[in-house]
Every structure is written in C-alpha cells, then in structure tokens.
Symmetry: C2
Subunit: 280 residues, 2 copies
C-alpha cells in the first residue's frame, strides 16, 4: 500500500506495507546471491549514506527514510533530492523490514557496485596499494579498507575466496572508506601479485614468518602490501611470490597482532617513509 502525503518539501510516497515486493527485494540484498543477481547492495545508516552521496551519488538508485530520519537527516534527504534520486518515505515497520539490523538507523540507500577493474585500480602507480588475500571476516576486511584510506593507500585489491565487499558488515566497517579509494575485486592472489608487478610495484608480504623487520623494509618505491587470512596468514607458496616477506616486530610477549592492526602498522610505515603527505 502506498499513499501520498504533502509536506514542506516535494510530495513523497509513503511505504507502509512491510510485505511489499519492493521491500522484500531490498531485504533480500542481505544475501550475496541476491546482491549479485540484482547488482545492487544496501548502505545502512547516516554515515554510509552521507559518504556515498558525497563520493558516488551516481551509484545510488533509491533512498529510504523513516519519519524520524527525515527530520534528523534532512541534509542528506535534500542532497538526494537535489540529485534527483528517488526518496521513499517509510513507516518504521517498513524500515525494520528493509534491513536485518539490530538497531535500524532509519536511513538506507540502495546502490550499484563501485568496484573497478584491477588495471584501473592500479592506474596510479605511486605510493602503495593493499592486496587482501582470502580475508574472510567482514569486520576485518572493512577495517583494513578504512585504515588503507586513512594511511593513503592508492587502492585495495580483494582476492577471490574473500568476504563479499558488499556484505552489510563490510560496508558498515569501512565507515565510508568504501567510496574513498578504488577497490578491485576477485581474481587469484597470484594474478593480483603479477598485476601489481606489471604496474611497477614491489610486492611485500606481511607475515610473522618474514625475515625482514618492518623498520628495515624498503618502502621507498611504489609497492603493494599483501595481507593474508586472519587465521592462517599467507601460505608458503604465496609468500614465495612476493619480493620480500616483512614482519611487524613483536617487542613484548604477544604472539602476534591481529590482521587489521598489523595491516595498519605496515601501511602507516609506508605513509611515513614514502612521500605521502596528509590531507588533514
């Protein structure tokens, strides 16, 4: 059931039926298969919506807001309307049905994928990029993308057999960084390493088994950090494909750092020792 109301802004249709086909179709985007079939994914909450409207407004196909969010996030709704994006006002029951979140924040965007081909992600051959090899945990993948952004990475390459970039938990964990730097998807790790090398990058595997300590690693030229799975790291065959295997020094008695922390320390070492200058 759709009814039309008038308010201070343009006329909005209000979605009130949580069992409507349109609502079910958005809800289904919680599943990878549905995302791939529809070539759409969901951005849930004002932080993500703000970033996608700012950095990739053309990728937004629909915006859904409940009454409270319509007031609280008026600025975002205005931006969406100015860009002629369809804005759908929803009842809170519809909002709860749209996304499988414990605490819905009242604003949801449906978006087209934003990943780019590997060659495009590697077009800028300065600084450093990150290859995520078989990273499975959504929070880890998203957090590494966020810190790659913060550390000034030129791109992130996510291998096949990794978590889906458009998994809602990945999207949330990136805290908007999903739209801040080029991200390429898929392909075997060996192919991604080869592509980096073809684009003039040294490949540095980050691994506790590395012979080179991070403070002694050569980070001067264009390079790629290769980060392995959170549980089992990088296998020997993959490490052998790298130009160097680098370990973050462990000074105390800790066994290791987790993936996101190790990746962040490596990337900030790159930022610190190459000529990347802060933008803020």
């Amino acid at each position: 059931m759709t009814r039309t109301v008038s308010n201070a802004g343009p006329r909005l249709s209000v979605l009130t039926n949580p069992r409507a086909e349109r609502v079910k179709a958005v809800r289904a985007l919680g599943r990878r298969s549905a995302r791939q079939r529809a070539e759409r994914f969901v951005v849930d909450g004002p932080q993500g919506v703000r970033e996608v409207l700012r950095f990739a407004p053309g990728s937004v196909t629909d915006l859904y807001v409940d009454d409270a969010a319509l007031q609280r996030h008026r600025d975002l709704v205005d931006v969406a309307r100015d860009a002629n994006l369809p804005v759908h006002q929803c009842s809170s029951a519809v909002m709860a049905a749209l996304v499988d979140t414990q605490h819905p924040q009242g604003i949801v965007a449906v978006c087209r994928p934003v990943d780019v081909p590997v060659a495009d992600a590697l077009a800028d051959d300065s600084g450093f990029v990150v290859i995520l090899a078989h990273v499975r945990d959504p929070g880890n993948a998203g957090t590494v993308i966020r810190s790659a952004d913060a550390a000034g990475a030129r791109a992130v390459l996510l291998s096949d057999a990794s978590v889906d970039l458009y998994n809602p938990k990945v999207v949330r964990s990136t805290a908007g960084s999903l739209w801040h730097l080029p991200i390429a998807l898929g392909g075997e790790v060996a192919g991604l390493i080869a592509a980096c090398r073809e684009h003039g990058r040294r490949v540095l595997a980050a691994d506790g088994a590395g012979a080179t300590l991070l403070p002694e690693a050569d980070l001067s030229g264009p390079h790629a950090w290769l980060m392995g799975n959170e549980a089992w790291g990088l296998d020997e065959a993959t490490r052998d494909l790298a130009d160097d295997v680098v370990r973050v020094p462990i000074h105390g008695h800790a066994e290791s750092l987790n993936l996101a922390l190790a990746a962040t320390v490596c990337m900030y070492a790159s930022a610190d020792r190459s000529a990347v200058h802060p933008t803020s």
Copy 2:
C-alpha cells in the same frame, strides 16, 4: 554430585552437577560485582589458560576441564598438576554452566587479579606506557592491551570509569597479554597523568584535534600515550593536562581511525623511534 575416577594420571574428582554451588560461584564471576566480592575472575579457553600458567601460575586457584579438553590440552593439565593446582574434571553440562560463552572451549581457570599499584607499573621509567582514559568497549580495551604488549609498552594504566579489566571479553581480547606487562587500575585520569609525570614521563594525548602530527612528535624520551574513549575521545580539559596533543595523520578521506588502530600506530611509532629492540 562428585564421583572419583581413576585414569592414567592422578585420581580426579569429576563434577557432574551443573547446579552445584561451586559451579554457580564460577558462573557468577561473569558479573563485575561478584568478581570484586570474590577477588577472582575467569579465564576461558586454552590460549588464556596457557598464558596465565606460563606467566602467573601463582594467580590460578582452580582449573576446570571437560573430557575433550583433558585429551586435547594434556600439556596444560600437566603444567597445572606439576604446580599443584587443583584440576577439576567436569561433564560437558558443568562446563556449559561454568561460563557464559557461545562456544565453550572446555578449559577454564579461576584466577586472582594481577593488576599492580600505579607506582609499581611506573617503576620501569624507560620507553613508553599507555593510559586508557574511560575506555568502555571490552574488545577495544583488550585489543589495546594486546598491541601495547606487542609494541613493547612498559605498562598499561586503566582509569576509573573504564571497562573492568577482568570482564571476560576484555580477558579474551588481550589474547594472553593481560599477563605479559604490568597493568594498573583505577584512579582519575588527572592522577594517572600526574603520576606519569612524577616518574619522568612526558604525556602525549592522542587525539584528532592535536596540533602535532605523529611523525613530528618527540618520542625520544620516556613518555606516556593518553588514549581517550572510543566514541568521544578526550575532552579539552584532559587534553590540556598533556604535554603535547598528537594526531595520527589522515592521508585519504577517512574521518578517523578507531581507537585500537590509532593507539597501535602511535605505540609502534614509539617503538620504532625509541631504542626498543624486538624480542622476536
């Protein structure tokens, strides 16, 4: 109900009643009030148990193992027995009743607190320490303790109004680092800052509002990193107590790094620029 069985090792009493007072008393340690009353906390799973047996065996009062863990973690049980610690074999129903964990790992130690007075934590006046001011999230607190250990911090000071160090999630997130370096608890942030200064340490507040970029911060002498709450950071009055306010440069479009990532980058900068040498 307790029955005694004989097996290849010494005779063990087997706990089979999940409603026994002893079992309830361990379960109750999931609550802060019960931990404070009993002056005990729980270490759940082989990683934590291994580390406490290795670094603070005298703090363990009881070890509980189910049948599967008795086989799988024979080495830990042997260490506990060699140290004359009471080892209690449990049915799986008792193990499930001992701790509130989704996936019990079959081995649980009950331990005495291991925190030390602030003055003791600051006795080693070299390198750097970390002050956690009002950190509320258990995973963040535990992760920062783990990375403080890895980066070679001399101590961690946890202010009042922070998460309880002995919260099971904090204990788990430290991945054993809880026993690897001195940790002092409680006291107001201002008092902890003053104590650091009395012990000859400069105090560096890590905050996005800082005027000094991390690569330009003076990390040469003994210092203390002051890290604020994960959501609201450090308030201005607290920042004003520090000798310098330092920010991690943000090179891309990310708004910030999360607490654990920012703390780790700061601490590794300290490790890298002071003369802390890796132990592994």
